[in-house]
């Protein structure tokens, strides 16, 4: 898996280009997860978003997610592109593509990748509403880090 399968970009993401990175003669299934900017969250209207990232570490952590997937599914191919900068409603923020010989694994791995992005990849989203703006933290809302950092097994 080459490093350029895991990319942070300021440009609009070409979905087909990400999918093509994982195309494979022995793949029977490709699962693609596309994260898009939603207008309404809990009834509150988003005007636009800004994403920022610690780019080199973010690309490294995306690649790590790819390696974690290949540990479970050695035949899998993974590509992830995340966009940063200002995004409008319905814009694509992230595209994950995973190919595997059999379809169940592609679903499992793609789901794993998006959850893992929300755990370990240094990317931040700032929501801009009509009445203010805020950096959004920890969308997983599944755990807090009382020690100020994730436990070893989370990273």
């Amino acid at each position: 898996m080459t490093e350029k399968n895991f990319v942070i970009t300021r440009e609009a993401i070409d979905i087909e280009a990400v999918v093509n990175k994982v195309a494979d003669r022995n793949a029977g299934a490709i699962n693609t997860f596309i994260g898009t900017v939603r207008e309404l969250t809990n009834g509150k209207k988003t005007l636009y978003l800004k994403y920022d990232a610690y780019i080199p570490m973010a690309e490294k952590k995306l690649a790590q997610i790819g390696e974690e997937i290949q540990r479970d599914f050695p035949a899998a191919k993974v590509a992830i592109t995340h966009r940063i900068g200002e995004l409008a409603i319905a814009d694509t923020a992230v595209v994950i593509a995973v190919s595997t010989p059999h379809r169940a694994d592609a679903f499992t791995a793609s789901r794993y990748a998006i959850e893992r992005i929300k755990e370990i990849v240094p990317i931040w989203k700032k929501e801009h509403w009509e009445d203010g703006e805020e950096w959004i933290g920890d969308q997983l809302e599944k755990r807090s880090y009382p020690s100020g950092k994730p436990e070893k097994e989370d990273l």
């Binding site: 990232a53 929300k118 990849v121 931040w124 100020g148």
Partner: protein
């Protein structure tokens, strides 16, 4: 000299992304204290940020040396 990066609300509160600490060695806990001393407005946020040294998450006891890049990473929200 240790280079420290602040992101998201940390960057906004500090008013800068890069802080340079003129020292040969310092552990993460001490770097956090150094930053709080310089930017008291980081108080709430820096406690929930994860430290990293050279692009890998690191523990509070980990020691950064001159030339290393330390980062404080607020709860992430990509995806």
């Amino acid at each position: 000299m240790i280079k420290v990066l602040l992101f998201a609300d940390l960057e906004e509160r500090a008013g800068q992304r890069i802080v340079e600490i003129p020292t040969a060695e310092m552990n993460i806990a001490d770097i956090r204290r150094y930053l709080l001393d310089k930017f008291p407005q980081l108080s709430a946020s820096i406690r929930t940020a994860m430290p990293a040294i050279n692009e890998e998450y690191a523990a509070d006891q980990a020691v950064a040396s001159s030339g290393d890049e330390v980062a404080f990473i607020p709860p992430v929200s990509g995806g």
